[in-house]
């Protein structure tokens, strides 16, 4: 199925290659590199590239120290989502082993582990062992103690016994987990995607939510989570550990959790979502310049409530013909980037009483034509202890002999939040 996997850095050097069905020359990556040079930015490289003899799938691992591309080569027809999901799984496993935002140097240093992982995760071109729980027992994650003892005594980083997880029907949790303090944390993270038009009307809006769990519980706890208002949720997707029939019958989420961090479920809420942060722009261009007036306010229940939007940033991409801006704002600071002509207005925490306002004029460059369209603003924000959907947790029952500490937090973020002017 997948013939080979290549990992490239941002200038096109092949860092790793693993062949599952016979050797393939590195030069195949040239086809890929052609697309990279033709694209305007790394994000614009299409994920599927068709060449006369094979298909190249790629995902971008974007990190400040230098992007990397994970590429899979297939010769026959294959389910593309399977390939892309697998590449992302490889990236996730590498993140677990080498840290969030791992870069080229981390992989080069640990190349032995990289090869071991690539070998265990896929055999003969089909995914083999991808469950992090089981991989961790076959290939130990690097840590300082091991590095030191390895340098001194030459101990191997592979175990002699088979991991217990391979034989049970619950591959996500192994036996004999022990913690001195038993605790479990739930993070409800919602992203509000919305498009609003210039009248302040909502063209489309929905909430996409995920519930991430950090589980530090001993033995084999059986958890049951109930919401006060499960009917709000339109569509749900669960981690494989969740028992579906309990959800169907009484909307309970019943599961034996994996150890550590994992995503429990994702859901969407479509109807009746009020965008929490309301932006009202009024932008008019003339032949020589333009007038700008932007107001930001909150939805009613936030105004009355205890939590306020923070890290509020409004981005206004002015047309390229704009020369300079003469603006003033009542709250926060703003900056106009001279190269991209993007104005970033950082409001920070929304004030309870005042309505932040940015207004003034812009001047066009000499000889520039009047822009044919008004800019599309975007907004970012985070609101702690608030869910845009209104979903709340009613209870969480842990069936075990101990009494664990349970914590539930929620956070709402602005996702793809766009306002047309």
């Amino acid at each position: 199925m997948i013939h080979s996997i290549f990992i490239l850095n941002e200038v096109g050097d092949v860092l790793f290659e693993k062949h599952y069905r016979g050797l393939v020359q590195r030069s195949v990556c040239d086809y890929f590199w052609e697309q990279v040079t033709a694209a305007s930015s790394p994000e614009e490289v299409p994920p599927v590239i068709v060449t006369p003899h094979f298909y190249l799938f790629n995902i971008l691992h974007s990190v400040r120290s230098g992007n990397m591309y994970f590429i899979a080569l297939t010769t026959a027809e294959v389910n593309p989502l399977l390939v892309i999901e697998f590449l992302h799984r490889v990236e996730d496993v590498f993140t677990e082993y080498f840290g969030q935002g791992f870069g080229e140097s981390a992989l080069k240093e640990e190349f032995v582990k990289v090869y071991q992982l690539l070998e265990e995760m896929m055999d003969n071109g089909f995914p083999f062992t991808t469950e992090p729980n089981i991989l961790r027992e076959m290939v130990r994650a690097p840590n300082i103690v091991e590095k030191v003892s390895g340098a001194v005594g030459g101990t191997s980083s592979m175990t002699e016994q088979l991991p217990s997880g391979t034989l049970s029907i619950m591959p996500w949790r192994k036996e004999g987990v022990k913690y001195s303090t038993n605790e479990v944390f739930f993070d409800i993270i919602e992203e509000v995607d919305a498009i609003m038009d210039l009248g302040g009307n909502v063209v489309s809006s929905e909430v996409v939510g995920t519930i991430n769990v950090n589980c530090r519980l001993s033995a084999m706890p059986d958890l049951t989570l109930t919401f006060t208002n499960p009917a709000l949720l339109d569509d749900v997707g669960f981690h494989p550990c969740v028992r579906h029939n309990r959800w169907e019958q009484n909307r309970n989420i019943s599961f034996i959790p994996p150890d550590g961090q994992f995503r429990l479920m994702s859901y969407t809420v479509k109807g009746g979502v009020q965008p929490p942060v309301v932006v009202r722009p009024q932008i008019r261009f003339t032949d020589t310049g333009g007038r700008v007036d932007v107001n930001v306010s909150m939805v009613h229940n936030l105004q009355q409530g205890k939590t306020l939007p923070e890290n509020v940033v409004i981005t206004i991409p002015f047309p390229k013909g704009v020369l300079s801006a003469n603006l003033s704002c009542t709250v926060g600071t703003f900056a106009l980037d001279q190269k991209t002509k993007v104005c970033t207005w950082t409001i920070g925490r929304m004030p309870k009483e005042k309505m932040p306002n940015l207004s003034g004029t812009v001047t066009m460059q000499v000889g520039a034509t009047r822009p044919e369209s008004n800019p599309v603003l975007s907004a970012q924000f985070t609101i702690a202890m608030y869910t845009a959907s209104g979903i709340t947790v009613d209870s969480l029952v842990v069936a075990e002999h101990y009494k664990p500490f349970k914590g539930v937090r929620s956070l709402t973020k602005g996702g793809r939040y766009q306002i047309r002017s």
Partner: protein, 451 residues
């Protein structure tokens, strides 16, 4: 390019390799300390990773395969698999060690050796490999069994005749009842490959149902495979419902490949039963849209959009009311924008046409010329598809000509050509306007067409 670079700086690197060879020889001859050996082997593989040619180290590396250190063994086998094809005679030297390792007390070593041996791709080795593979299929450890199944597939690629005469196909069928889910998955894969030339894998219904009943034993990748296989069987109405019930909760899986596989299978097995098919269509809409919304990255969204386009071409009434989900965001990469625009064209019906038209006009002024063209072409397609909206579409297109932007005008003219072909009554008005804007149209094709 890169190969050239290596050759010119070859001097220094070639010395490095020669040095390494000497070092390895020393270690191998005196059965030196294990840390030395491991470090040297690591160095060799590291050179290999960087693209250096270390094939001259082959004889020394073979000798170092004989070690209790699993990491060293693993690295040596990795090296051997890379260079064995070029050195088939020397590769036979490692057969002894590999053979010994296949009966090691540790299942990980047995599995490792089996995998390495079958990946060497040397036809001379198949006689040694066959009995080892046959035994591995009956090993007590599921890890060895599942590695063995994959080794059997590789054996088949190298020597199909030998494979057949050893009756391995029959053994693989037996493994479909193995207690370990991954062994079963691998057996299915193996059978697919082995039977590809002789009509493909045709699973009897009872076997299929047994697999569906224990779907949760399989990894998500195995589930994808079984679900796809399920779509290839013929079903009675009763069986159809049973199969769909078994698969229904997989629609809530977080792996998008699994969900899509279920949707495809549902649609394909009910295609001759109109009522059931309609029910299936409404059942899968929700999960498909959830996938769209929770797609963590554009790389997953892209094949999803492509699949949806395919589904729409076979199933017209999918997603009619959920078109807003496919509205383009300014932050989408170009390949997503154009995919969404195409999808919107397919979904548009008389109810949604007006709204979609407004959206398209907003995209038409995108600074990216390709997106703008895609949006304008979409307007034309919608106008031709839905006569009720044609007049409005036409007037909007003509309005846009007033803006006098060259790439926009080019696209509009090309689109107008097609629209006018469908609605010749409008041609007079269109030709009038075209005359006035002739001066801004730059693309040669656009200039010629109105004539």
């Amino acid at each position: 390019r890169r190969v050239m670079m290596m050759m010119t700086s070859g001097g220094g690197k070639r010395d490095e390799v020669a040095e390494l060879k000497a070092r390895l020889q020393q270690i191998a001859s005196r059965a030196g300390s294990s840390t030395d050996a491991l470090a040297a082997v690591q160095k060799a593989v590291s050179c290999m990773t960087q693209g250096l040619d270390v094939s001259s180290l082959f004889p020394e590396m073979v000798m170092l395969a004989n070690t209790r250190n699993i990491i060293q063994k693993k690295l040596v086998y990795l090296y051997l698999c890379t260079y064995a094809e070029a050195q088939p005679d020397l590769s036979l030297l490692c057969v002894n060690t590999l053979h010994k390792d296949c009966s090691d007390s540790s299942p990980m070593v047995r599995g490792l050796a089996l995998r390495a041996m079958s990946s060497l791709r040397i036809t001379n080795l198949v006689e040694y490999l066959l009995p080892l593979v046959r035994d591995s299929l009956l090993d007590v450890s599921p890890y060895v069994r599942k590695t063995g199944v994959m080794a059997a597939t590789k054996l088949f690629t190298m020597a199909p005749g030998l494979f057949a005469s050893a009756g391995l196909t029959g053994k693989l069928f037996q493994l479909l009842d193995d207690p370990d889910g991954v062994v079963v998955t691998n057996a299915l894969l193996a059978l697919q490959e082995v039977l590809a030339q002789s009509g493909g894998l045709a699973l009897p219904h009872n076997v299929m149902f047994r697999l569906l009943a224990r779907l949760k034993d399989f990894t998500e990748w195995g589930q994808c495979l079984v679900i796809d296989l399920a779509s290839q069987l013929e079903y009675t109405q009763e069986h159809m419902l049973a199969t769909m019930n078994a698969l229904d909760d997989k629609l809530k899986h977080t792996n998008s490949a699994v969900v899509l596989a279920v949707c495809r299978t549902f649609l394909s097995i009910t295609q001759d039963h109109a009522e059931l098919h309609a029910a299936v269509v409404s059942r899968i809409t929700g999960p498909l849209l959830l996938l769209m919304e929770t797609a963590a990255n554009p790389e997953v969204m892209y094949p999803l959009l492509a699949h949806l386009k395919l589904l729409l071409s076979q199933q017209q009434n999918l997603l009619y009311d959920d078109y807003k989900l496919f509205y383009v965001r300014a932050s989408d990469p170009r390949y997503i924008k154009t995919a969404k625009i195409e999808l919107l064209t397919l979904i548009a019906n008389s109810r949604s046409a007006a709204n979609i038209l407004e959206e398209m006009m907003a995209y038409a002024t995108d600074s990216d010329a390709l997106c703008s063209r895609a949006a304008l072409t979409a307007v034309g397609t919608i106008a031709i598809k839905i006569p009720a909206i044609a007049t409005k579409a036409l007037s909007k297109l003509l309005c846009l000509l007033d803006m006098e932007v060259d790439y926009v005008a080019d696209s509009i003219v090309l689109v107008l050509k097609d629209v006018v072909r469908k609605y010749p009554t409008a041609s007079a008005e269109v030709l009038d306007r075209l005359e006035t804007c002739f001066h801004i149209v730059t693309e040669p094709q656009a200039k010629v067409d109105p004539q």
